[in-house]
Structure formats: C-alpha cells, structure tokens
C-alpha cells in the first residue's frame, strides 16, 4: 500500500471543551435510542425467518448476498461523504462540529451500533426482514463512512490555491467548480479511503448478519449467518467451506474492484515520479475494448452535462459564504445549541442515575482497563513479530512490490471466519481462554502494522542507507539510531489503525462460542457481546460509552502526541 492512513493533525492534543459537549450529546442520543428499545421489549415476531442451510451449494448465493449488503452500505457511505465531507470543508461552523464528531463516532465499536439501532429499524418495518437488513447494512455503513468523510474533506480542503484561481479566472460557477476542480482533487484520497473501508467492512458484514434481539437470533442469509450456524452445529466441514468460499470471493473482489479502482485513481495524482509496477489485467481488457471506450466517452459527456446543470450555474452571491447567517439568527442558533446541550446533559444524568448502578459503571471501567491491556499486549506482540519482517521486506524493493498485493488481500479477508479454528485449538489443548482468545483481536488488523513498516522502510532515502553503511553502523546501533526512528511515523500510523480495529474486534474476540461451549474472556468486549445477546441495550450503551472514552483517551493522549513527535523529529 503506497499511502498510509494519517491521523488528522487538525486539532491539537488538548481536549477541547467542545469535545466534551459533543461527547455528552452523542451519549444522550444513544440513551434515547435505548429508551425507545425498552419501550418494545416484547419478543419480536418475524413470521418465518429464512432458514440457513449448511450445504456447500448454498454458499455462492450467500456470498453474493453479503457482498450486495456491503455495496449498498458503500452507496450510503458515498452519499454521506459527499454531503458531510463537502459541508465540513465549506463551512467553518459545520467543520467545528463534524470533524470532532467523527472522531467520537470512530471510537464507537461498529457492533454496538448494530445492537443499539436494530430495534429502531425493526419498528420501521414491522414484520418484515427489511428491518434487520437495514440494521445490518447500517452497521457496515458505520464501519465505512467515517474515514471516507475525513478523506474527502481533506481532499477538498487541499485544492492548490492556484487551481482555485484558475477557476475564478474562468468564472466557473460553484457547482461546476465543485465537480471540475474540487472533486477530482479529492479523488485519490477518497478512493484510497474507500478501499480501506471496503477491506475493513468484510469483517463487519460477516459479524453483523446474525443479529441478536430480545433473546432471539435473526439470521440474515449470508456468509456470516452460515458461519454462525456452523459454529452452533459444530460442523467442521461447513467452516472449511466458508473459509474457501470467502477466499475465492475476496480474490474476485480484489481483481475486479480493488485493483482497477486503484489503477484508475492514479490518473488524479499530480506527481509523476511514483512508479508503480502494479498492473491490473482487468484494466488492460477495459482499455482495449472498443465498446467500453465509447461508453467511457459517453460517461464523460454525461458527467460534463451534469457539471454544468444550468440550475446550479446561476451566480449566487452567497458563494463566498454559503452559510452566512444574519447576526441575530446566529445568536439564536447558539441558544438553540446550548438548550440542546443542556437537554443532552440532563438526559445523560437521568439515565446514569436511574438506569445504571454505580457498581456497573465501576465494572465497565475495570473491564475496559482489562481490554486495553489486551490491546496493548497484542500491539507489542505483533510489533515484535512484524517490524523485523517488515524491515527485511522493505529493504528488498523487489520482494516488497510482490508482497504488497498479498498483504492487501490478507487485510481484506474477514478474520472472524478463522475464529472457530482458534477456538477448536483452545478446547483441544485445554488452554487458558483468558489469554489465548486475545490474539483473535489482532488477527485481522496486524497487517496494518506490517505494511506501514514496509512502506516506511521503502521511503528511507538511499543516501541515508549509504551513509549508515559508510560509517559502519551495524547491529543494535543500526536499529536504535537508524531504522527505528526512520520508520517511526509509519509504524505509529499502522499501530493506531491496528489498535482501533482491535478494540472493535474485542466484542467478537472476547466472547467466542463453539456449539454450546462459550469462552467468555473478562473484558469490555465480552461484556458488550454478552448483553447484546440478551438484548440489554442499557448495558450495551454503558459498555460502549466506556470503551469509547478509553479509545478517545488513548488517541488523544498517547497516539496523537506520539505521531506528532515522530513526524516532527523525522522532518529533514
């Protein structure tokens, strides 16, 4: 992977009072949804739930259904990206709310979104499978949208000043300027984040198909439900089938979607030196097919027509500040905001005082602490394994260019399919499950560490290598004063991503089952998973908020300062 995820450096490390306000509002919103859930605690009747079959010939259609869910979620994510990313980039006021809000939403585990919202979606479509479908798609959406919005927002914010001036010289309308200058400029970052989101969302597609609701499990047809049933029935063969099926699906997805899109996005890059030997046979075919060439020209024509829609090309005097509100209204909207804030605060207090015991709060804090120890232990273990290997690969560019597509592939493979294998081994060797379920958390996200280390090693200038050789720097000193500091910003970027994903995965990893055997590790993920199964939304929200606070805390006070320190030290 050429680029690496960069935590936004827009806000400083100090906690802004707005962060706290926002957090309270998010908390209150979650409580409200929970309250709505409790209003309808009666068992839900969905008529005849679709039967999941464990025969292998059902798998292709299940895989297709899972993929379809992911694509629908991607459509919504794109919509949200264009609306909120643009809005945040254009209005200072909206920016100051959306960007920190995304920070908070990113810290909320995806599967909690599922548990919290499923009741609402079911009420929207009573007696219909559309409810759980929507809940599942919404969960996948929350796994995709946040970083896409951020990436698009940054792409629009970083349009070179001179290009904006060219647009002005041509008197482009804001609509045309958006489609002709801003969107193309944001394209590489948007596509890159789309790819990251797609890879991550395979995991959650699989995890969000078997939905627990009011002590009842709804299984949506898909690979995730297939594997859930296989676990329940302790069917080794079915698990093997699911893994093989998913391998094939990911290979197809990788070749048909991932690589062509990545190749296409290079068109929007301005730097020429980036020599990529990654090729795509699909692109080759597309480029040589005449019919497709015509359809490309047609598409371009449609895009041009779209970009000059006359309704939007009218000059609007508000262009400079599309949200300029008269002073009096501004004051009012501030009032509105404060009233909203106070209401949120009261609501949160009400819930915390009435519905949750202090004991429970202390418990979730303690459990979060255990999970955070697990996360750090796993980051350390996978670093010890992957940093030397990554450096070894990065020093050999030929191997690196061959190995990168493989890592991209591994990162997309939903690691939760492999969980049963680990559980079987734990049972077979009678291992301590408190310790041995822990590696499951990092199974899917360890690759971020590996490929960031590879990219970092590749990025070290040749001359510094020569200088190090020339001075005879070897062994311990070579690692300490050369390689480690040089790859530090990249490594930390990878570690941040991996840690975030590990928190998310803890909900599945700390509560694994095999037939009737439940391996329940002590931690906040297990806590959330346990109460999600019984449909106790209040406890799920409490656990989620605790986890959210921990994640935000570590991001603000550990990862971001580390990242800023590493990058400022690396500047030449």
């Amino acid at each position: 992977m050429k680029k690496s995820y960069k935590p936004s450096k827009i806000h400083s490390t100090a906690i802004n009072i707005w962060d706290i306000y926002l957090f309270i509002i998010v908390a209150a919103t979650l409580f409200c949804i929970t309250w709505a859930t409790m209003q309808m605690s009666k068992p839900y009747d969905i008529g005849n739930p679709p039967q999941i079959h464990l025969e292998a010939n059902y798998l292709p259609s299940y895989a297709l259904k899972s993929f379809w869910r992911m694509l629908i979620a991607m459509g919504f994510s794109l919509l949200a990206t264009f609306i909120f990313g643009t809005w945040a980039a254009k209005s200072k006021k909206v920016e100051s709310i959306i960007i920190p809000l995304i920070d908070i939403l990113q810290a909320i585990p995806v599967l909690s979104f599922l548990t919290i919202t499923v009741a609402g979606f079911m009420q929207l479509f009573p007696g219909n499978l559309l409810g759980p479908e929507m809940a599942s798609i919404f969960a996948v959406f929350t796994a995709q949208a946040w970083n896409m919005i951020l990436g698009f927002y940054q792409g629009i914010k970083t349009v070179p000043h001179e290009l904006i001036e060219v647009g002005k010289m041509y008197q482009l309308s804001w609509w045309r300027k958006f489609w002709k200058i801003e969107v193309p400029n944001a394209m590489p970052s948007l596509i890159w984040n789309m790819m990251m989101s797609m890879s991550a969302s395979w995991f959650f597609v699989v995890a969000s198909e078997a939905i627990s609701f009011s002590s009842q499990t709804i299984m949506l047809p898909g690979v995730g439900s297939y594997i859930a049933l296989a676990i329940e029935k302790q069917d080794y063969m079915a698990i093997f089938n699911a893994i093989v099926c998913m391998l094939i699906v990911i290979i197809i997805y990788d070749q048909l979607f991932f690589r062509p899109l990545l190749f296409w996005s290079k068109k929007f890059n301005s730097d020429s030196q980036e020599e990529d030997n990654q090729k795509s046979w699909v692109v080759n075919i597309l480029q040589r097919t005449r019919a497709l060439k015509y359809s490309r020209v047609l598409l371009e024509k449609i895009y041009d027509q779209f970009a000059k829609l006359s309704f939007f090309t009218k000059k609007i005097s508000l262009i400079k500040n599309p949200l300029s509100i008269p002073k009096a209204m501004k004051v009012k909207s501030d009032w509105f905001y404060y009233i909203f804030l106070i209401l949120s605060l009261l609501l949160s207090i009400y819930f915390i005082v009435n519905k949750i015991e202090i004991k429970e709060i202390l418990l979730v804090c303690k459990l979060s602490f255990y999970t955070s120890i697990r996360v750090f232990a796993m980051i350390i273990v996978s670093s010890v394994i992957w940093v030397p290997i990554g450096v070894w690969i990065g020093l050999r560019p030929n191997i690196a260019s061959n190995i990168q597509p493989i890592i991209q592939f591994l990162a997309a493979f939903p690691a939760n399919l492999l969980f049963p294998l680990v559980v079987i081994s734990i049972l077979h060797f009678q291992l301590n499950h408190e310790i041995w379920t822990t590696p499951l958390m990092i199974l899917g996200s360890q690759w971020y560490i590996l490929f960031n280390v590879i990219v970092g090693t590749l990025a070290i200038p040749k001359e510094i290598h020569f200088a190090a050789n020339n001075m005879g720097i070897k062994g311990k000193l070579w690692w300490k004063s050369f390689i480690i500091p040089a790859i530090m910003p990249y490594y930390i970027t990878g570690a941040i991503t991996a840690a975030g994903a590990a928190w998310n995965a803890s909900i599945i990893a700390e509560y694994v089952t095999w037939g009737s055997i439940k391996l329940h590790a002590t931690g906040i993920g297990g806590y959330i998973a346990k109460y999600a199964e019984t449909g106790d939304s209040t406890r799920v929200v409490t656990g989620t908020l605790a986890m959210c606070i921990y994640v935000l805390f570590f991001n603000r006070f550990l990862w971001q300062p580390l990242y800023n320190y590493a990058t400022s030290r690396m500047q030449q």
Binding site: E165, V166, K168, M169, Y170, Q171, K267, S272, S568
Partner: protein, 430 residues
C-alpha cells in the same frame, strides 16, 4: 487608449486586531500595445498587486478600470498565466486548454478546433493527449500559455511565468512569446507581467515599473525603447540595468537615511531578511577576495559575477547593511570597517563581532536577550518571542522572521534553542 488602470490601490490585511498594510496608494496604467513588467523584491506585494489587477483579490481602497469599466471580479477579457502552471493534473493537455471554453458554454466541436489551434500555435502539437505529469516544466508552461491564449484575451497577465523554469527553457519560451506578440498572431492588446529578474524585464517589456516594499509602493518606472530582439551586451541595455539597480537600492538607502537619524527606531516589526549566516559570510568573502582591488562594487557586476537574481542578492545586501557590515548606495556596495574586521577574524572572533552587531542593530535580538536575562530559569518559549512581533507582521511573516532570528541568534551564541520544546535558553544544552 488605456486598457487597464489602477487608481490609488491600497491593500490592508487585518491581523490580531492590528492592520498590516501590504500595498499603499498604487497608481498604474497599461496602454494599448504595451508590454509592462512589474519588478520588485520578494515581499514587495507585486503578486498581490497583480491579483488585484486581475480581479482575483479585492483592494481595501481604490479602483481598477478595464476599458473604463470597474473590475470587481475576474473579467472575460483578461487571461492569466501562473508561476507554477496551475494545470489540472487529472486532465489531458487538450482538456486543460478546453476547460475555459467549456465554461463559456461553447460546443464540443468548436472548442476542440480552437483548442487544437492554440496548441499548435504554442508548439505543443503531438502532446494533446498527454497528462501534465508527463511533461517537462517548459512544456507545462506552454500549456499554461495555450490555456490563456485560447480564450483570445484582450490583456494577458502573467505571474512570474518563467521563474519556475531553467535558464535555457525560459529563454526559448520568451522568444516564442515575443514572436507571437510581434506577428500579432493573437488578439492580445497588452501584456502585464511580474518578475524579479531585471534582465527578463528588459528583454521583454516597453515599460518597467519598480515596486518597493514595506508597504508596497511604486518606486519609479523606466521606459525601454530598444528594438527587438534585444541584446544583453548592448551598452544601452547595460545602462538601463544600472539605472534599475540604482532605483531599487536608492529606495533602501532612502529608508536607511530616515532610520539612521533615529536609529533605535528600527522597530521590533523590522522584517529581518530571510538570509542564512553562511550567505552573509559568503558574500563578504566573495566581495573581499574576488573584488579586492575595488573599493565600491557595482551591484549589477556583483549580481552577474554570482549569477544571482535581485531576489536572491538584495536580501543579503540588506542584511549586511542592517548589521553595519557594509554600506549600500546608488546601486553600489562597500564593505564597512566592521565588515573588514569581521572578514579578517577567526571563527570564534567572527561570532563575537556578529553577536555585537546583532544586539546593536536588531531590536528583536535585543528584546529576546533582555527577556532571557530576566527569565527565572533563563528560558522563554518561542511563542512568547513571537508575541513580540505579531502586532507588526502577519502570522506567516512572523514565523519567517522568528526562524531567521533563531538561526542568527544560535550562530552568534546569544541564545540556544531547543527544537522539541520550542524553548529559547541562555545556555547551550549539555
């Protein structure tokens, strides 16, 4: 016939509540058939002025008239060429050139013919389907020209169009541009461009307007009546180079006279030229060793000898002058007595002299040192020092000045600096 006219243009940026005047009372006109060059050092606001003329930036006061109509936003008759080309990286050469026509709502066929004509005219045939990243700098700027010319502009405005190119490429492009202009191949009636290269201005223009800085003003103008193509070695050409140097440096001397009367009033807001201590010493050594026989040296000669633009050379001479290591007057430079002592000293002695001159002549250095002497742990934060100058300078300029100040101060050993903590201290670490 006046194509473009500027009446009493001023521009003020508001910064931390205090006003920051960039341009003051500029008057200017471009007549039919003229090529005018605006010449000035970096920081003189010449690019800002050009953007005001193009309608991209609004002046704080004054007005711009294009063919007697007020300009408040970009107008159709004015085309622009940018310093760093400003091509859309995701569009091919042809699509880049077509973009402006497309904005006018011209249909696909016509804009293709017109774009191909412009591409041929500027010598880009064969590159129509290339992306900008495949092109060299010179070719990229040709696309920049084609893109402006395809709109058939009445006036062509160019912001340092050749400064991102190497010497030979720039020369080639200038010749081609002049040829187009003289053969009236375009419908363009006037050209206006900004440069910091005196020879470039003299090669191309009929009139050179010289801008001075702090705030940007018009220091004078020179008419150039030489026939094209012009020759660098022509005596008249060389005389004009000298005249322009005198005009530019006269301005510095003028400021100097004013400030030397009330010397201590060279305030905290003084914009320390962005020059390294190596460059300061390098220039003294060059003057002393390469021109030893001469007492005063002609600046054009020095610039020629070092192959440096005024943009590079004048900040260094200004630094020398402010530190009283040299005197600059009427386009000449002379090393002062202190400068001679500085040259003859060894490494440690040089630092001492530099420190003395720094504390004597730069108020900011004095202020920082005083604060440090008073500070409890002999250390103050960089932010604290920045606050000393932010009332006078924009945020960006304050940063630049502070960086130069830290560089000079570290060399002179009047203070040390800790990068990780952004702290200035009295002692060196360890």
């Amino acid at each position: 016939m006046k194509l473009l006219k500027a009446n009493n243009i001023s521009k003020t940026f508001i910064n931390n509540g205090s006003d920051n005047k960039i341009l003051a009372d500029l008057n200017f006109e471009l007549k039919d058939g003229e090529i005018v060059a605006i010449l000035g050092k970096s920081g003189s606001g010449k690019s800002t002025f050009l953007r005001i003329l193009a309608g991209l930036i609004q002046p704080s006061s004054g007005e711009i008239l294009y063919r007697d109509n007020a300009v408040t936003e970009p107008v159709k008759g004015i085309g622009m060429v940018f310093q760093n080309f400003a091509l859309m990286p995701w569009l091919t050469v042809l699509e880049n050139v077509e973009l402006g026509l497309e904005a006018l709502g011209i249909n696909r066929e016509e804009r293709r013919t017109r774009a191909i004509d412009a591409i041929d005219m500027i010598g880009l045939d064969g590159f129509e389907s290339a992306y900008p990243k495949e092109l060299s700098g010179g070719m990229k700027q040709r696309v920049g020209f084609a893109r402006a010319l395809v709109m058939n502009p009445d006036i062509l405005i160019m912001d340092e169009p050749f400064s991102a190119l190497d010497v030979l490429t720039a020369e080639n492009l200038k010749t081609d541009l002049l040829e187009l202009w003289q053969n009236k191949k375009t419908g363009t009636n006037g050209i206006l461009f900004v440069t910091h290269n005196i020879e470039e201005a003299l090669m191309l223009s009929n009139k050179i307007v010289i801008m001075s800085s702090n705030p940007g003003k018009i220091a004078g103008s020179v008419d150039v009546n030489l026939p094209y193509p012009r020759n660098y070695q022509d005596p008249e050409f060389l005389r004009l180079v000298d005249v322009i140097y005198t005009l530019i440096t006269a301005n510095i001397t003028h400021n100097k006279k004013k400030s030397s009367l009330i010397k201590s009033n060279l305030g905290l807001g003084y914009r320390i030229p962005e020059v390294s201590t190596d460059e300061i010493m390098g220039l003294i050594e060059t003057i002393y060793t390469d021109f030893e026989s001469e007492k005063t040296i002609d600046l054009p000669k020095l610039s020629d000898h070092l192959a440096m633009d005024i943009d590079d050379l004048l900040p260094i001479t200004e630094a020398l002058e402010t530190l009283e290591l040299a005197n600059v007057f009427d386009g000449d430079i002379k090393i002062s007595e202190t400068g001679v002592k500085f040259f003859n000293a060894d490494l440690l002695e040089r630092k001492k002299i530099f420190a003395k001159q720094l504390l004597k002549n730069i108020p900011l250095a004095r202020a920082i040192r005083n604060r440090l002497d008073e500070a409890s742990f002999s250390q103050i934060s960089e932010k604290h020092c920045l606050e000393l100058i932010t009332p006078y300078l924009s945020a960006k300029e304050s940063q630049k000045v502070m960086r130069t100040m830290i560089d000079w101060g570290r060399y002179a050993e009047i203070f040390a600096y800790n990068f990780n903590e952004n702290m200035l201290t009295l002692e060196n670490p360890n």
